[in-house]
Structure formats: structure tokens, C-alpha cells
Symmetry: D2
């Protein structure tokens, strides 16, 4: 990449990717979502399609998804809005709409879609399926009795799991191709 | 709309919306999908959320979705590709990919998404749910033993039902608003 | 729609569409965007394609776009985030990212896309074109010297204009079809 | 990835990624689009933002985009439809709609969006800009006097260039971050 040689001077200031990455992981945990719980959703979605799939594979895939800048930005923004809603700080009429997680609000799903889009169209069906089943950590995120507001995070958590599943499906296919090449 | 007054001269030739609409409806039926079967999927998706929902409501919503030009174009294009695949007329390597409805193909879901997008982000979860359940007409479209190729139509049929469901949800909300206005 | 007859009892409380609509229009004006300025962008985009197009047609189309609930929600959410960023209230590292309108942030464009999607794929090219040209009100929204933060609103304003343009293009086509029917 | 250990037996037959990749590159050239011409569009879009950017960087980025399976599938499908339209083989009324590259058709832009989505939302504005300017190879693809039909390929070529531009922008940012780390 010699074409980029002269880029260093000037010193633009900006937020580094690992700063965003660390913030995203810490916010997930602070809001009650452990990465293992996301990996469990991935295992649930993929174990019938990928023989021998184990939790470490699923966790690694979640980490890869979390390494993308667009994913980090969607997570940070959604969790920030959840926090403001929890504290009653959004202006009217946005506050009651977000607080009640109104089914027609749609911006939460829009942020989730921005994560899914990065992993191709097959990520969408896994997302929709998880959204209807609401299993595991998604059930907890949808439990209004906790007093927390997870209008955005429940959709974003599902999108992380669906994206990581799609990524595994693509990688598994790639591995099958490599194996069939050697076995010829 | 007096601003459009001078448009008539010149006479551009083009395909009229009702020509596209009729073609879309006829192709659906020719490929084995009756509108009532799509309406049944809508009823399944919405009957728990909309009290007193009946089949005519669902059928009317399907017809409204089918009246959109982008929907007609997606349907015609997808069914055309299914037909070519069925007749073995696609070039290699597209032919085996479409014929096998490969899970990583993705263009079928992409056309479905172009329908869903028109009805807002809440259409996506219904679509993903239908795609996993594969009930009713979707089960038949996914049955490879018929000798037909429905790689595109199974996704497009699910998208039509999910879009019509989303439209009903929006309209039901609107009706509740009107009622609460009168009841004040 | 007799199927919906039993919906009135129970009285769910929710935010009415016209409350959201009024809030969206007032927030636009409070943030320095008059609807006429959005209509001017529509006129710029469509005047070469629709003979005799006038400002009232463009303004009416903007109003139709603003009547959609998903549009209202996207606008309210984006303007709320702009306000928090302006007041320095977002958590780190989201605050400097949004405040600087970082080119790789992406959530602002994501909200804009959720508006464009409702009007079909042809809305996208008008949006991208406006985003590069930055004319009219879009130039003002991108002027950092005002001390205001319009990270979201500059994209949302462009999306409103692009969506209204796409809507006019569809309606113009429909009118041509009707005329050619009468002229046969 | 030991979790995937037992995958080899069974021998599913499928189309390998490099088969799709080679087909995509060959079809591009057979339809009159050289990769260098796509790289020129990337250089045009990015040279003001990335100091010292050279053609080999742009060409490498185009190749990376072409290595994605969803990109290959979109390209193959679009070019196949262009070929059928050129030969007059699509059924009515799809044939005249595609042949005329009707502005409201939309499926061509939909396939382009499926490529852009993989590279985040910032790819969209570059795409819309290229679509309006129609420079370089895009001008040739839009020239109806060649007797060829490029309804899909003109949009897909623009999407390839816009996606490769977005990828370079992300990588350039990453490189700046690495440099600022060393310079501390």
C-alpha cells in the first residue's frame, strides 16, 4: 500500500477503533449482556447446520462482529439512547415512545439492520427468528420488570448473534470448499 | 397538481402500472400461489395482535402491497429467474446455484428485502419468522419434489405476507388513534 | 374493515401520529430548517424531469413524507442526538465521534436510509447526489461555524428531499399513464 | 476452528467461491468492463481524501470486493438478466421494462444496494454521486447506441466502485490510527 505513504503528517485527531471496541464491550457488560450469552444464541442458531460447532467458535465469531466500526457505532448509539430513556431524559414525545418500546417505533430495528446488512442478506432470517423466539439473554432484555430500558439493546443483541451466525455459515462453507479441494 | 399540466405532449411509451399488476397476479397463480394462501399467512401473523381480524382484511392488504410498482417489478423478476432456472437456461455457474437454492446465494432474499423495506423495519421480523416456520404455502414452495424451482418465489411470497402484515399493524394503530380521539 | 370492530375497549395509551407529526415539523423549524427549503431541494432534483413542476407540488410532497410514522421517528431520534451532542451530554467516546460528524460514524446515514427505503430504491441516487453537492439548506447544516451540531439533521434533511422527489417521480409516472389512457 | 472437525464426510456438492469469482471477472470483461476502469472510478472518488492514493491500491480494493460471494452472486444475476433482455428473452411485460432501463424499475438498484450494504452506509453516497455523474466506464454503459443492454451492469459497476472506495476509506483510517500510535 505504498500509495498511502504521505498520510502521516498533519495528525488528524480522531477516536481509535480499539477505543470504540473497548467501549462497546464494556457497555454490553454494564447493561447486563455477557458475550457468552450472545455466543449461546449463535450456537442455538447454527448447531443444526455446522457439525461439531462449539462455544469457542461462536464466541470468536461474536468478537469478529464486534471488531467492525459500524457495529461499534450502532451499539454505542443504541445503548446511549436506552440510558437516556431509562433516566427520562428524552424530549416529548420521543421519551414515551422509546420507553414503551412501541412496536411501530422502528429506529431500534433500523440500527439492528445496519449490523445485519454487513453480513449479507442471510443474516436477516436468523434475526427475525430470534426476535420472535426471544430466548436466552433476549428474554431477559425484554423483561420490563427489571426497571431497565432495553428498547435498542434487545434488537442489537439479536443482530450481533444473527450476524455472527451468518459469518460462521460463510466460513463453514469456505472450509468445506477447501476440504473438497484436498480430497479430490 | 397544476404544476404537472404540460406533461401530456410527447407521448412517452411505457408499461402501465395495471399491466404490471395484472402480470404479477397472474404469474403468482400460474406458479401455484393463490392470494388467499398469502392472506392466510397474514392472518397467522396478525391474529394475536389485531382483535377480530378476518380473512377479507388480510386479502385486501395483500392486494394493496401488490399494487406497488416496486413490488410488481421484484415479483416479475424473481419469477422470471425461477422459470429460467427450472428450464436449465441460466449460464454456469448461476444455474446450479439458483437451482439448488443455495443458502448463501442471497439475491432471492435481496429482492424480498426490497419489498419489506417499503413497509418499514417492523416487516423484517415477520419475514424472518415465516422463513423459519415455513408454514402453509411456504412449505409447498420449499418442497423440492414438485420438480418446480421456487428459489425466488418462496422468499417473495413470505415478503408479500410480511409486508401486508406490517401494513395492517400500522392501519390498526391508526384506527385505535381515531377511536381514542372520539372517546375523549 | 369490520374485522377490526372489537378493538376499542381496553384503551391502550400511546402517542398519536399527529403528536409525532407536529413534533417533527416544529423540531425541524426550531433547528433552522424550513419546509420551503426542503421543497427547494426537491424542485432542484426534479425540475428537469417533470415539466411544469412548481414549489407547491414539492412542498406537498415533503408534507406527505413527513406524515409517515417511521419518518417522524427517525427525525425525532436524530434531532435528539444532535441536541445531546451540542450540549456535550453523550458519553465517551460517542460524544467526540458525533460532535465531529466523523465520516465513518454511519448511524446518521443509517437513519437517512430508513426514510429512503420507504420510497423505493430510486430515492437513493438522489440522496447520494444531494449529499455530495451540499446545496441550499444542506450547505448551512454542514457549516460547523454556526456552533450547532447537525450530524444527523444534515443527512435526514437530504433524505426528506430525496424521498419527496422519488414520490413525485412515481406520481408523475402515474399521471402520464392516466393521460395516455384518455388519449387513446 | 476445531469445532468444525467433522464436516468433511458426506461430500456436499456445491459451487466453489473461486468458480464464482472467475465467472464474475470474466463476465465483467466479456460485457466490456475492465477492472482498471472500475479502479479509475475509485481513484476519482478517493483521491481528494487519501493522500498519495495510486491506481494499484484502487485495483486491489476492487479485487477484494469481487472476492465476496454476495457480490459475485449479484453480478452474475444482473449480467444474466442483461443478456436475456438483450436477446429479447424476458417475458412480457418484464422485457420492455428492463430493455428500456425504466427509471422506476428499481431491481437493478436493489442488486447494487446489496453490494453497498456490505461496506457500510458511507458507500451509498459515493454510489449516488457516481450514478448522477456517469463518468468513465459508466458513461459507456449508459450509452444506448451500443445495442447492448446494461440495465443491471451500469448500477452494479457503480456499486463495485463505491464499495471499493468505502473499503479504502476504512483502511486509510485504520492506517492513520496505527501511525498515530507509533508517533506517540
Amino acid at each position: 500500500m505504498n500509495g498511502f505513504a504521505s498520510a502521516a503528517q498533519g495528525g488528524p485527531s480522531f477516536i481509535a477503533s480499539d477505543t470504540l471496541h473497548n467501549a462497546a464491550v464494556q457497555l454490553l457488560q454494564a447493561r447486563g449482556v455477557r458475550l457468552e450469552q450472545l455466543a449461546e444464541l449463535v450456537l442455538f442458531l447454527q448447531q443444526d447446520y455446522i457439525p461439531g460447532l462449539l462455544m469457542p467458535d461462536c464466541l470468536e465469531s461474536i468478537l469478529h462482529v464486534l471488531a467492525k466500526r459500524e457495529v461499534q457505532n450502532a451499539l454505542l448509539t443504541g445503548i446511549q439512547l436506552d440510558l437516556f430513556a431509562e433516566q427520562g431524559m428524552l424530549f416529548f414525545p420521543l421519551q414515551p415512545v422509546v420507553q414503551a418500546d412501541e412496536s411501530l417505533y422502528g429506529v431500534d430495528e433500523t440500527l439492528a439492520l445496519s449490523i445485519l446488512n454487513l453480513y449479507g442478506s442471510i443474516a436477516f432470517t436468523n434475526y427475525g427468528y430470534l426476535d420472535k423466539l426471544k430466548i436466552g439473554i433476549l428474554a431477559w432484555l425484554n423483561d420490563k420488570s427489571t426497571g431497565m430500558c432495553h428498547t435498542f439493546l434487545d434488537d442489537l443483541a439479536g443482530a450481533l448473534a444473527a450476524a455472527a451466525s451468518s459469518r460462521l455459515a460463510h466460513r463453514y462453507r469456505h472450509m468445506l470448499e477447501e476440504q473438497s479441494r484436498y480430497n479430490r
